[in-house]
Amino acid sequence: MDLDNLIQQFQQKDTVAFEALYNMYAENICGVINVIVKDSERSQEICQDVFVKIWEKSDQYDTSKGRFFTWILNIARNAAIDEVRSKTHKNQKKNLPVDSLVGIFESGEDLNSKMDTIGLQSLLKGLKEKCILLIDMLYFKGYTQKEAAKELDTPIGTIKTRIRSCISNIRKNMA
């Protein structure tokens, strides 16, 4: 079924459509949470909660907010960041370690025995560290372009061209 139709039915509280969306995105959402929380069991629990939240907020989504995946990605990031904050008592998103993805990649640090570390490494193969750092900030930590530019002390234009080249690298690795 067409994704737009599926989303529409989900917004009309169709649980079958919701299950289809869950099957499409559960692993992605859980992966994002896992990179932030670094605890596979806790990540699974948060992931469940996030989908319940997505169901409850279904009427708040509209296409003007962007891609459906971007919308649920944002909900997942916020839930995971809240979890880390409540543990570490840190009040700023900026204070979160932004090297988690770098760490996983470089050390082959296995967050979970079931995790596809080899897959992750092959996707990030050949990417520079500042690339992985930027991906971590923008996709996993939810930095805006402005926040990322400020954090890295780099103009927004450079942020744009850099992320373009980084994602292109991943796409090459996928092929």
């Binding site: 859980c30 992966g31 896992n34 989908f51 979970n112 995790m115 923008l138 372009q145 850099r162």
Partner: protein, 265 residues
Amino acid sequence: MDVKEYIASGKLELYVAGALSPEENLEVQHYAIQYPEIRKEIEAIEKAILELTESASPKMPQDGFAKIKAEIDDVIPFTPEGSKTRRTPWGSYLGWAASILLAVGLFWMYNENAKLKSEIELTNQEKQNLEETLSETQEEVTATEGLLEEIRDKNVTVIALGGQTVSPSSYAKAYWNKEEQKVIIDAKGLPEPPDGFTYQVWSLKLDPLTPTSIGLLDDFVSQDTRLFTLENANESEAFGITLEPEGGSETPTLEQLYTLGAVGA
């Protein structure tokens, strides 16, 4: 717009990350609808991010959705959709109530309208009656004024007729216009005649006593003014009024002489 340049700008990657400003977000959205290449590029970028994020997943349990479903099923009764099915159909009750009310209202209006119409008819009837009464009254006024004029005429002699033995309290007046040979009798002071009887007016010559009938006061009761105009061509010396059987008599019944008065007395 150069689509290739736009794709190369890196904006689409930031769009998928949700890192653009709201204005730029809308701009990308707009172009994605307008240019299929841009939409395809966005989907390709998203696919890369999906691969990347999936590879970081600790893998969800097989029955993952069952747990979520159990939780959202509890939530369902509180959603607008769930409560809607259980709701009493007030809307349809209200609809019926409204249409019944309307029907009753229309019937009432129809009745009121009919009532008003018949009231208007009645009022019109009353108006007509009043107009008739008015014209009758005007006629009466004209007649009375005419009488008054006649009574006030300088040629009129007024003769007071006093009550006699049979009815001492009775009285009458005669306004005699000798020129016009007319007598107006004012019979206000006479009692109503009994059934089958009528008053008769006599012109009298005294020496010798010769009565001449000058007329009857017919329709005594219906004549409200009690004023009667009679012809009198006689050289009258007195006037008398007697009660006679209906139709009048040849000679006066003196025992029933009610009033009498002499001219110039």
